[in-house]
């Protein structure tokens, strides 16, 4: 009884407080996402969160619901004002913000697309030439090397460096095709499914002899399939897309989409946080500014294994 009273008194005197260990000030990273609720980008959020949890980093996932580089830039500027310890974003913003961020000692890592001459800490994105080569190899496998390619391309925003570089890579790589090629139409989805479909309807009605469509925005391949079905067109149109959204995967399974270039968005989030952490905490700079992301051509043959392959 006396022991219990003594213990209770001690607890009261000590205020039942637990000892808190003094630690380093936690880091604060901001991911200025182009689409804060998009399925693919949410994979990047998941990767970022896992890496932040691992290193006890505070982080924010901020960005517009619909494509808006202005909003992304505001997020970046706010992060600079807040003196964040690092920023991650897609390379679709003006390079001045990237440069300002670096000047203000807020390192920035770009994912998915590069910004020319911006000199961020690092850029993790697809090697677009590798992407174009993968597409060409598959096309030739399907229709032969001598078939002339009439290509329609859809990107999210034509002004994005990302889009420009992808189109340029196609031009460069497809030159090797013995049958020759021509890009007959380039349209924009503005990251909107309906708009993508409508754009494709417009293109397909106008360019009836297209045999290849290359869709460099996630929703574009789906929009293209919808447009083709809307127009009751024959299946001799090869549709290629990017990313592995559920509908894209479903359509690959059904044979409506020939293939899709996929990369791990999860790794975008995870690896960029790792890079920033190593740089801010340990002063370790990335070996090279451009960090190629692993890509795969997703088709009927590797539907079950591609996720595992990407993580590896």
């Amino acid at each position: 009884m006396k022991k219990a009273v003594l213990a209770a008194s001690l607890m009261l005197l000590c205020g039942c407080q637990t000892m808190k260990k003094e630690t380093e000030k936690p880091l604060y990273f901001v991911f200025a996402t182009p689409l804060s609720t998009h399925t693919l980008w949410l994979q990047a959020k998941s990767g970022m969160q896992d890496a932040c949890d691992l290193h006890h980093i505070q982080c924010d996932w901020q960005g517009p619901i619909k494509i808006s580089t202005e909003q992304m830039e505001d997020v970046i500027q706010t992060a600079i004002l807040k003196k964040a310890d690092g920023i991650i974003t897609q390379g679709v913003i003006k390079k001045t913000y990237i440069m300002e961020s670096m000047e203000q000692n807020v390192p920035i890592v770009l994912v998915d697309s590069p910004v020319e001459d911006a000199k961020p800490l690092a850029t993790i994105c697809k090697d677009f030439e590798q992407q174009a080569q993968m597409l060409l190899t598959d096309i030739e496998k399907r229709i032969g090397k001598n078939e002339h390619l009439r290509i329609g391309i859809q990107v999210s925003e034509q002004d994005f460096d990302l889009a420009k570089q992808q189109i340029e890579s196609v031009r460069t790589v497809f030159k090797k095709h013995p049958g020759g090629f021509e890009i007959v139409a380039i349209s924009e989805s503005k990251s909107d499914q309906s708009r993508s479909r409508n754009e494709w309807i417009s293109v397909l009605q106008k360019e009836k002899n297209l045999n290849i469509t290359l869709n460099f925005a996630g929703e574009s391949a789906i929009g293209c399939v919808m447009a083709r079905e809307y127009l009751n067109m024959q299946d001799d149109l090869l549709i290629y897309g990017v990313d592995d959204m559920d509908d894209t995967v479903k359509m690959i399974k059904e044979g409506k989409i020939a293939g899709s270039i996929v990369t791990s968005f999860y790794r975008y989030g995870y690896d960029s946080v790792e890079m920033l952490y190593e740089y801010v905490r340990n002063g370790k700079e990335p070996v090279k500014e451009l960090q190629p992301a692993q890509i795969l051509l997703l088709n009927k043959g590797n539907l079950k294994t591609y996720e595992k392959e990407l993580k590896e």
Binding site: L81, K82, K83, A84
Partner: protein, 496 residues
């Protein structure tokens, strides 16, 4: 036992102590619960107040940020120390608001976000200083810097949504916490009330039982106290008061026991005295009757003896000497029998009497039965009951030699061996079968195997045992058709 109880009494808890302890325990519990209740309430109110303070301070912060931006613009248009001071004061005030918020959010997981807000106004302030310098130096990029600063202000202002969300979310959480706490408090109150009710019920039952149970047990024991079968030990264990009461009852019961014992003893004594008196009265009555009977009896024997003497003298005077001798012997035998049947005689008197008896029986049976008496000369004349030998000889004649026509023999032998006098009466008659003899001995010489009554033998042996007790031993030897012998062995050592 009393000492043990007294010692035990020191170790017992008194009834008043018990009540005091129970009440003390209740007070401590009530105090603890009440203080916890009050502390929880205070904590909840503090938390709630903190949240409202945070909200007010956040309001103040954004107000001061706007004021800072306005004052900055005023200063740019009208550069003066007062305006600069106003700008700086607004900056400081917004900083203080942040400090207050952070203080009130002590322990909040999202406190670090307000540090970011502080970083924002610091950056704004630094950039504002740069714009002021650029203005003074009339740099070309002043306008660009100024626009950038205004955009920074807009970005800071835009954060209000995010930060109000944090604070209101905190308020929401506090509200949830308050609701949870209130629910907990209600539950605690309910449990506490139940506990108090249970405790009071338990306390009341325990107290009532601790008073009534021992009293009931004492009541139950009261009736048994009279019989001395009471047990107060279990009651005495209850508490000090009961122990004292039990001690007093133990004393009381012991006194009662003593009184009961005394009364019983007295009653026994009185009963014995009354019995004695009654016996004495009976004895007196018997004595009187006996004396009367003696007087009556004396009349008849005297008449008989006088008659026999007269016949003896007449026979002698007429020359019938043998008849005269018979009459004399009969007279002597009768006199001995009358005088000693219920009196103490002696060994020599017994021998003299048996001589007379033998003389008479020898005349009766002639050559059929011979009577032999062999007694050592220097035998001690020990005291013994009268009429012992005659029934034994009579027994031998009547039972052992009943059918003998010649050479029957009855032998009376008295010898002294060491410290014992041995009287042996034997005959050479039909004797007795061993099983019959065994039964006779087992039946204390009263009955034989054929349930035939051996009154003479029983009378002699019982009188000998009554007279000598353990000093006499009686041994019977007999076989069928081989005679009968009874040996009476009297221990002289004890006699002396």
């Amino acid at each position: 036992m009393m000492k043990r109880w007294l010692r035990h009494n020191d170790q017992l808890e008194s009834f008043s102590d018990k009540i005091f302890n129970y009440n003390l325990m209740l007070i401590v519990i009530v105090a603890f619960v009440c203080s916890t209740y009050v502390m929880l309430n205070i904590r909840i109110i503090d938390k709630f107040n903190d949240t409202y303070v945070s909200y007010n301070d956040l309001n103040g912060f954004y107000f001061h940020v706007k004021e800072m931006n306005d004052n900055f613009q005023v200063y740019l248009y009208q550069p003066s120390d007062a305006n600069y001071k106003a700008f700086r004061d607004s900056y400081n005030a917004s900083g203080k608001n942040i400090d207050k918020i952070m203080l009130s959010l002590k322990g909040n997981e999202r406190k670090w976000r307000f540090e970011l807000l502080q970083n924002m106004i610091d950056k704004y302030y630094i950039d504002a200083e740069l714009v002021i310098a650029s203005n003074l130096q009339q740099e070309e990029d002043f306008n660009q810097k100024y626009q950038k600063l205004i955009h920074e202000y807009e970005l800071i202002a835009k954060t209000s949504g995010e930060y109000y969300d944090i604070v209101t979310e905190d308020m929401q959480q506090q509200k949830i916490a308050v609701n949870d706490n209130q629910r907990t408090l209600h539950l605690v109150s309910l449990f506490f009330i139940l506990f108090v009710i249970t405790w009071l019920a338990y306390f009341s039952i325990t107290m009532i039982r601790s008073m009534t149970d021992p009293i009931e047990k004492i009541m139950n024991n009261m009736n048994r106290i009279k019989m001395g079968e009471y047990d107060l030990s279990k009651i005495s264990n209850v508490n000090k008061e009961m122990n004292v009461l039990c001690l007093a009852l133990e004393d009381l019961s012991r006194s009662i026991q003593k009184n009961i014992q005394y009364a019983n003893d007295k009653s026994d004594l009185e009963k014995r005295v009354l019995e004695q008196q009654n016996e004495n009265l009976k004895k007196d009555e018997l004595l009187a009757q006996s004396e009367l009977r003696v007087l009556q009896n004396q009349i008849n024997p005297h008449f008989l003896f006088n008659t026999l003497n007269m016949i003896y003298k007449k026979a002698y005077s007429e020359g019938a000497y043998e008849t005269s001798e018979l009459m004399e012997r009969t007279s002597r035998l009768l006199r001995y029998a009358l005088d000693n049947t219920s009196r103490i005689s002696s060994l020599k008197k017994e021998l003299a009497a048996i001589e007379n008896y033998n003389y008479i029986q020898a005349k009766r049976y002639g050559e059929r039965i011979r009577f032999i008496v062999e007694a050592e000369e220097d035998l001690p004349d020990i005291r013994m009951p009268g009429m012992i030998l005659q029934p034994l000889v009579e027994n031998a004649v009547l039972h052992g030699l009943q059918d003998v026509t010649e050479d029957g023999e009855v032998m009376i032998e008295v010898t002294q061996q060491n410290d014992h006098v041995i009287i042996s009466v034997s005959d050479n008659g039909v004797g007795m079968a061993s099983d019959e003899l065994e039964k006779l001995i087992l039946n204390d010489y009263a009955k034989g195997s054929d349930d035939r009554v051996h009154l003479g033998l029983y009378n002699v042996t019982s009188r000998l045992k009554k007279f000598y007790g353990d000093e006499v031993s009686i041994i019977i030897n007999s076989l069928e058709n081989c005679g009968f012998e009874i040996n009476i062995k009297i221990d002289l050592r004890r006699r002396s």
